[in-house]
Amino acid sequence: MDFLFDAQWWTQPLGTWMAWTRATAAFFIFIAAAITTMGLVERAYPGGSPRRGIFAIDTTRGDRLFITLLGSAFIFLGWLFFFGTPLWWPLVICLIWGAFVFLFV
């Protein structure tokens, strides 16, 4: 399992079509997995659990995922603007942001 900690393994090109790397593939697998999870949760608890959270907007589970992901993108961009790399701290902030959105928004 050493290769998981090998930056080279993650970032080397995988062929030329669409210029894939394992890192970007992992990103899309994460997004796809998040959407699939939403589908599975919806199947188990139908209705989307709508509610009006602390921002006074109506959200369903899917909306909350969307807000989490979009917000995370801007958290990373904001961090790059103010502090630059590395991005471990904004990752932590994004996780907190995600938890906050799913619990209260």
Binding site: T11, P13, M18, A19, W20, T21, A56, F66, F74, G84
Partner: protein, 287 residues
């Protein structure tokens, strides 16, 4: 009652899904892949991490074109939406003039974008163009190829001329759908024209106006052809909007990595703004 469940219908969606996959999803994913790599052509890529995003977020050239883009979009929205509503209110509701007005309004929308740019380019030329020559004869020092203010004036006037019609047509559709009973009730109550507009027409137009604002926001934020043909982004960089800057980077300088990063930030800004706007409009809708 048990409804019959037939999942076969999903197969009919497959062709569209394939089409969307190849014209939207695959390119978008490719852009994400490009945005973290560097290429020197020859379809060879080298990992560069988030360096393009970091560079862009701190790049004054990007800030400037983003600022110009917002200035442009907010200005045209501030002009086109009220103007479109006013024109729609002034249009006849019955009789032969309805069709005439609708056709006249639809005409600018039918003209291809590059033709609009070329038309205004010639129309505004200071030596031979009707607009440019007239303004100069009247004593205004007007030359959109040299003056930033004149270039912006021409650009915004062109967009207003081209797209206000869309707002007019949508608002008009909203207006004619209001039943007469509302107006009768207003007359009985002795409501002023302003009160009729504020409490009957405006609320009834809200949905179409939401669509109009969203469409105009997204379209004007993506505008490329018209300013490119009209001013080419000049004088200097003064009308280089985001998309022109992006095309310069991607096609002119062939910097695929930075251009991809820029596209993604561009995409995120549009997504965020549209989402905020839509959420706000829909929240008021329910209250």
């Amino acid at each position: 009652m048990n409804k019959p469940v037939n999942q076969k219908a999903w197969f009919f969606v497959l062709p569209v899904l394939l089409l969307v996959a190849f014209n939207a999803i695959v390119p978008l994913m490719t852009v994400v892949n490009y945005s973290v790599q560097e290429t020197f052509g020859n379809n060879e890529f080298f990992w560069s991490g988030v360096i393009w995003f970091e560079e862009l977020m701190r790049n004054p050239r990007f800030h400037d074109s983003l600022g110009r883009q917002f200035t442009f979009t907010l200005t045209i929205l501030a002009i086109e939406i009220p103007l479109g509503v006013i024109i729609a209110l002034a249009m006849p509701r019955k009789g032969i003039w309805v069709s005439v007005c609708l056709v006249l309004m639809a005409l600018p929308l039918l003209i291809p974008w590059n033709v609009v740019g070329a038309m205004w380019n010639i129309f505004a030329l200071p030596e031979i163009g009707l607009l440019g020559k007239t303004l100069n004869t009247l004593g205004f020092d007007y030359n959109y190829t040299r003056q930033t203010g004149a270039a912006w004036f021409t650009l915004i006037t062109m967009d207003v001329w081209h797209w206000t019609s869309l707002v007019v047509l949508l608002s008009y559709a909203g207006l004619v759908s209001i039943p007469d009973a509302y107006y009768q009730a207003a007359r009985i109550d002795g409501a002023s024209p302003w009160a009729i507009f504020r409490y009957i027409q405006l609320p009834k137009m809200k949905r179409v106006l939401t669509i109009a604002i969203l469409l105009r926001f997204m379209d004007s934020f993506n505008i490329y052809t018209e300013p490119l043909v009209l001013t080419g982004g000049g004088p200097g960089n003064s009308t280089t909007l985001l998309s022109i800057d992006l095309a310069k980077k991607a096609l002119g300088e062939f910097d695929l990595g930075p251009a991809a990063a820029m596209s993604l930030i561009y995409f995120l800004v549009i997504l965020l703004t549209s989402w905020i706007f839509y959420t706000l409009m829909m929240r008021n809708e329910e209250q």
